[in-house]
C-alpha cells in the first residue's frame, strides 16, 4: 500500500509539474509588469481608421526613419563610449584612472532632458558660444546646428553611455586580465586578443547595457522634445494630446512594443548557446601600461567625456540654481529629497529582489513560457513613460475597487482601507512595470557567468542549496547586484510620469519639482531640484564604485 501510495503520489507530482511548468512566483512577479502592457496592446482591438490613415501618410514615414536612425546612432555611440571607457579603466593604466573610474559614472545622475536643455541653451544660435563666435568672426553660420539629428544622438549618448560603462566595466574587471595574457602567449597580437577574447567574453554585459540604452532611447520623450525631433514617442503624445485619440496613441505604443519584443528575441537568439566563464580568482594579471601619446589620449578622452556629460552641465545648473536659490529653496526640500530617496531605495530593493528570483527561476527551470513571460515583463522600459503610466493606472484602480467592494461586502464599510492607487505600494508596483529590465539585465548577465561547472565543483565539495547561493553565488554576483540596485535607484530618482500619476497626495519628490518648473517653461528654476537629484544620486554611485573597486 505504502509503495502504491508513493507511486501514485509521485505520479501526481509529475502530472502537476507537467501541467504547471511555470513557478507560481514567476507569474506573480511578472503580473504587475505585464498587466499595463496588456492594456496597451489590448487597445489594438478598437481601431481609429481616420486618424490611422492620416498617421500612415504624413507622420509614420518621418518618425520611423527618425526613430531607427536615432536608436542605431545612440546604440553605436553609447556602446562604443561605454565599452571603450570601461576597457581603458578596467584593463589599462593612465593618469587620472582612479578618478575617472568613478567619475565616468556620474552622468548617470543627470536626466537626459536636462542635458538636452543645457546643450541647446549653450550651443544653439542664441547661446553664449555662437554669440561669442559672431562677436569675433561676424558670423556663426558655419557652426553645426545642435538642434539636429546629430545633436540628439550626441546628447542621448552622453547621458546613456554609463549603462554600458557600468556593466562592461564589471565584466572586464571580473573576467580578469589573465585570459588576455594567455591569448597573447598563444601568439595573438594585443588587438586581436581584445577583439577575439576580451570583447566576446564581455558580450552579455555589453549587449545588456546596449539593450537598456536602446529601450531608454525609444521611451525618451523629454530630450527629443527639447530638440523638437520627431520620434515614435512624440507621435504617440501628439495623437493623444493633440488629436485626442487615446486609441491611436495606444496603437502606436503597441506597435512600438512589438518591435522591441522582436529585437529582444533576436538578440537573445544571436547569443543562445554561448557560454561564459567566471573569473579565475587566482590570476589577476597586470594592467596594460599605456605609454607616450596613448597615455594622454586615454586621459584626454576620458576627461572630454566627463566634462561634456557631467562637469559642464552641472556647472551650468549650479549657476542657474544659485540665481533662484534664495527665493525657491525652503524647508520643503528636505522632504522632497527624503521622499525621492525613500522611493528610489525601496524600488531598488523590490526590483532587484524580484530580478534575483526571476533570474534564478529561469536558470533552474527555464521553461520557455517563463522565459517569454520574463522577457515581456521587462519591456515596460521601452514604452514611453506617460503611456505606461496610464496603462498602470487602469489595473491598479480596478484592483483598488475590487478590494474596496470586497471590504464593503465583508465589513459593511471600506473606510479604513487605503486606496491602492495613491499609496506607496501602488507606486512600487508601477515602478516594477517600468524598471524591471534595469534590475533584471545586470542580474541575469551576472548569473550567466556562474556556469554549471561552478555549481558542480561546489557540489563536489559538499556545498549545495542555500549554502551554494550564500557562499559561492553571492560573492560572484555582488557586483551585478550592486549595479542593478544603483541603476534602478538613479532611474527612479529621475522618473517623472509614473511618479506623478501614482504618488499619494503631497508626495512630491525632487523629480516632481523639476516637472513643476519645466512644465511651466521655467527651465532655469528647474536647475535647483535637478542639482539636488544629481547630488542625491551621486551618493550611491560613489559608494558603489568604492565597494566594487577592490574587485579590481
Amino acid at each position: 500500500m505504502a509503495v502504491d501510495a508513493a507511486v501514485v503520489h509521485g505520479h501526481a507530482r509529475g502530472e502537476r509539474r507537467r501541467r504547471w511548468p511555470i513557478p507560481a512566483f514567476v507569474l506573480l512577479l511578472c503580473v504587475p509588469a505585464i498587466a499595463p502592457l496588456a492594456i496597451v496592446v489590448g487597445s489594438i482591438a478598437g481601431h481609429d481608421p481616420e486618424v490611422w490613415s492620416h498617421l500612415s501618410r504624413y507622420v509614420l514615414p518621418e518618425v520611423v526613419t527618425n526613430t531607427v536612425l536615432l536608436v542605431v546612432g545612440v546604440a553605436l555611440a553609447a556602446g562604443c563610449l561605454g565599452a571603450g571607457l570601461a576597457w581603458l579603466i578596467a584593463m589599462c593604466d593612465f593618469p587620472g584612472r582612479r578618478f575617472f573610474d568613478w567619475a565616468l559614472l556620474l552622468p548617470l545622475a543627470i536626466p537626459a532632458y536636462v542635458l538636452a536643455f543645457v546643450a541647446v541653451g549653450f550651443l544653439d544660435y542664441a547661446g553664449p558660444l555662437q554669440s561669442g563666435l559672431r562677436a569675433v568672426f561676424g558670423s556663426s553660420d558655419w557652426f553645426p546646428s545642435i538642434r539636429s539629428r546629430g545633436g540628439v544622438i550626441l546628447v542621448l549618448s552622453l547621458t546613456l553611455y554609463p549603462y554600458v560603462y557600468l556593466l562592461a566595466r564589471g565584466a572586464f574587471l571580473t573576467q580578469g586580465r589573465c585570459a588576455l595574457e594567455a591569448a597573447q602567449t598563444l601568439g595573438l597580437s594585443r588587438a586581436a586578443a581584445v577583439w577575439r577574447i576580451a570583447l566576446p567574453m564581455a558580450r552579455p554585459w555589453i549587449a545588456a547595457g546596449v539593450a537598456l540604452v536602446c529601450m531608454e532611447t525609444l521611451a525618451d520623450f523629454g530630450a527629443v522634445s527639447v530638440f523638437n525631433y520627431n520620434t515614435f514617442t512624440t507621435a504617440i503624445y501628439r495623437a493623444w494630446s493633440g488629436m485626442f485619440s487615446t486609441q491611436a496613441a495606444l496603437e502606436l505604443a503597441a506597435i512600438l512594443m512589438l518591435f522591441v519584443l522582436l529585437a529582444l528575441l533576436l538578440e537573445r537568439r544571436s547569443r543562445a548557446g554561448a557560454r561564459f566563464v567566471a573569473r579565475d580568482a587566482a590570476c589577476e594579471g597586470r594592467r596594460i601600461q599605456l605609454r607616450g601619446a596613448a597615455r594622454w589620449m586615454a586621459a584626454g578622452g576620458a576627461a572630454m567625456v566627463f566634462t561634456a556629460a557631467f562637469a559642464a552641465p552641472v556647472l551650468q545648473l549650479l549657476l542657474w540654481a544659485a540665481k533662484h536659490a534664495s527665493s525657491d529653496i525652503d524647508a520643503r526640500y528636505w522632504g522632497y529629497a527624503a521622499r525621492s530617496m525613500l522611493l528610489a531605495g525601496s524600488a531598488a530593493l523590490v526590483i532587484v529582489g524580484a530580478s534575483v528570483m526571476l533570474a534564478y527561476a529561469l536558470r533552474r527551470e527555464g521553461h520557455w513560457i517563463s522565459r517569454v513571460l520574463v522577457r515581456i515583463a521587462t519591456m515596460g522600459y521601452a514604452v514611453p513613460g506617460t503611456v505606461l503610466a496610464v496603462g498602470i493606472l487602469v489595473p491598479l484602480i480596478a484592483l483598488n475597487n475590487a478590494v474596496h467592494d470586497a471590504a464593503r461586502a465583508l465589513f459593511g464599510t471600506s473606510a479604513g482601507i487605503p486606496l491602492l492607487q495613491g499609496t506607496l505600494l501602488g507606486v512600487l508596483l508601477a515602478y516594477m512595470a517600468r524598471f524591471l529590465a534595469v534590475g533584471f539585465s545586470p542580474v541575469e548577465s551576472g548569473l550567466q557567468r556562474i556556469t554549471r561547472s561552478v555549481d558542480e565543483a561546489a557540489a563536489s565539495l559538499g556545498v549545495v542549496g542555500s549554502a551554494l547561493v550564500r557562499r559561492v553565488h553571492a560573492p560572484l554576483l555582488r557586483t551585478s547586484l550592486a549595479t542593478a540596485a544603483l541603476l534602478v535607484f538613479v532611474d527612479v530618482m529621475k522618473e517623472m510620469p509614473i511618479t506623478l500619476i501614482t504618488r499619494p497626495f503631497g508626495w512630491d519628490t525632487l523629480a516632481v519639482r523639476v516637472y513643476e518648473m519645466t512644465a511651466n517653461g521655467e527651465w532655469e528654476r528647474a536647475a535647483l531640484p535637478a542639482v539636488a537629484i544629481v547630488l542625491v544620486g551621486l551618493v550611491p554611485a560613489a559608494l558603489l564604485t568604492r565597494r566594487s573597486a577592490h574587485v579590481a
Binding site: H54, S225, W240, M243, I397, F505, G521
Partner: protein
C-alpha cells in the same frame, strides 16, 4: 546582513506610512487635480483655506494623464475639481465625460460667455494672449497686422515659431480654422512654414531669444513668457504687437477649471470655483503668472497692463477643442514640425 535588515526596515516603514496616509484622509477636504503648476496654485489654495477654513488637497500632473485618471477612477474618484491649462484640454475633459455641469449665477456673471463651456462644464479663469513679438530695430510696427499676414513672402526667412506640438499653437490654428475655414488656414500655415528662419523651437522663450540674437525678426508667443523675460531684463530689445486689431482680435487661450463628474463634495467644489471667479482671487490667479484675469472687471498686473489695451477674439473657446484634431492634421500636412 545589515543591509538586508536595513532594507526590510525601509520597506516596512514605507508600507506603514502608506497605510497611515490612506487612513488619514479627512472626508471634508476638497480634492483638486491640477495641471496648473504647484507654484502657481498653492498660494491661492492657502488663501482660500485662510478665508473659508476649507482644507484643500491637491495633486499635479499633465492634463492628459489627469483626465485619463479621472476616467479610470469613475465613481470611486476622490477628485472634486480639475484645474488645467489650454481650452483644448478643458474641451477634451468635457468630451471624455469627467466633468459635470455647474449651474451658478455667480460664475455666469463673472466669466464672459466665450470663456466658458456652452454646457457649463468648464470655466476660464485666466487669459493667455498669443500674439506677435518683434525686434523694433529690424521691424516697423506698421509692417505688422494679422496672424495670416505672417504668411506673406515679405517675412521669408524672418519668422521664428514654437513647435506645432505646443497646445498653444494647436489652439491658435484651431481658432484660425474656426475663423477662416480649413482650406484658407492650411494656406496660412504653409506660408508660415515657408517663412521660417530655422526649425521650430521647443518653447516660447527660445523664440524670443532667437529674435534678440538676430536669427529672425518676428515670432508668436504667449505674453506671459514675454513678461517673464522683461522682468529679468529691463532692456529687452523686443516689442509686443497686438495682432488682428481690425479683424477678429488677439487669439486668447485660457486656464480654467471644472467640477469632476463624480465629485464627492459638489457643493464645496462649486463654492470654490465661484470664489476663484471673484476679483481678489482673479487678481491673484492671473497675476501669479502674468496672465490676464478672465473676469473683465479685474485689472491686470501693472507690468501686464503696461503693454496697452487690446481687443481679444470673442469666439467661443470650445471651438479650439472641436477643431484641434483638424488643426494638428493640417500642421502635419504642411510639414510644420
Amino acid at each position: 546582513m545589515s543591509m538586508r535588515v536595513l532594507g526590510a526596515a525601509v520597506l516596512s516603514a514605507s508600507l506603514a506610512v502608506a497605510g497611515l496616509m490612506g487612513c488619514s484622509r479627512a472626508p471634508q477636504e476638497l480634492v483638486v487635480y491640477s495641471s496648473r503648476n504647484e507654484q502657481l496654485i498653492r498660494p491661492i489654495f492657502e488663501r482660500y483655506t485662510q478665508e473659508t477654513g476649507q482644507q484643500i488637497r491637491y495633486v499635479t500632473d499633465d492634463a492628459g494623464p489627469l483626465i485619463e485618471r479621472l476616467a479610470a477612477e469613475r465613481e470611486g474618484s476622490p477628485a472634486d475639481v480639475l484645474i488645467t491649462v489650454d481650452a483644448g484640454h478643458l474641451w477634451h475633459a468635457a468630451q471624455r465625460g469627467v466633468l459635470q455641469p455647474v449651474e451658478s449665477p455667480v460664475l455666469q456673471e463673472n466669466i464672459p460667455q466665450h470663456l466658458r463651456d456652452p454646457g457649463n462644464r468648464w470655466f476660464g479663469l485666466s487669459l493667455r494672449a498669443r500674439t506677435i513679438v518683434y525686434s523694433p530695430q529690424r521691424v516697423q510696427p506698421d509692417q505688422l497686422s494679422t496672424y495670416e499676414a505672417l504668411a506673406d513672402e515679405h517675412w521669408r526667412g524672418r519668422l521664428c515659431l514654437r513647435t506645432s506640438k505646443s497646445a498653444y499653437n494647436q489652439s491658435l490654428v484651431a481658432m484660425l480654422i474656426a475663423q477662416h475655414g480649413e482650406q484658407r488656414t492650411e494656406e496660412i500655415v504653409r506660408g508660415w512654414v515657408a517663412n521660417l528662419a530655422t526649425e521650430p523651437f521647443s518653447n516660447d522663450t527660445q523664440v524670443m531669444e532667437a529674435i534678440v540674437a538676430g536669427q529672425c525678426d518676428v515670432g508668436l508667443v504667449n505674453t506671459y513668457y514675454f513678461g517673464r523675460l522683461q522682468r529679468e531684463r529691463a532692456d529687452l530689445p523686443l516689442e509686443l504687437f497686438w495682432a488682428d486689431q481690425n479683424g477678429d482680435g488677439v487669439h486668447v487661450n485660457i486656464s480654467g477649471a471644472g467640477v469632476a463628474a463624480h465629485a464627492p463634495r459638489y457643493e464645496q467644489a462649486r463654492r470654490f470655483l465661484e470664489w476663484l471667479s471673484q476679483p481678489e482671487a482673479q487678481a491673484m490667479f492671473a497675476g501669479a503668472n502674468l496672465e490676464f484675469p478672465a473676469n473683465p472687471d479685474v485689472p491686470a498686473d501693472p507690468l501686464v497692463a503696461a503693454w496697452g489695451d487690446f481687443r481679444a477674439s470673442a469666439q467661443n473657446l470650445a471651438q479650439a477643442g472641436e477643431n484641434q484634431a483638424a488643426a494638428v492634421r493640417l500642421m502635419d500636412r504642411v510639414g510644420y514640425r
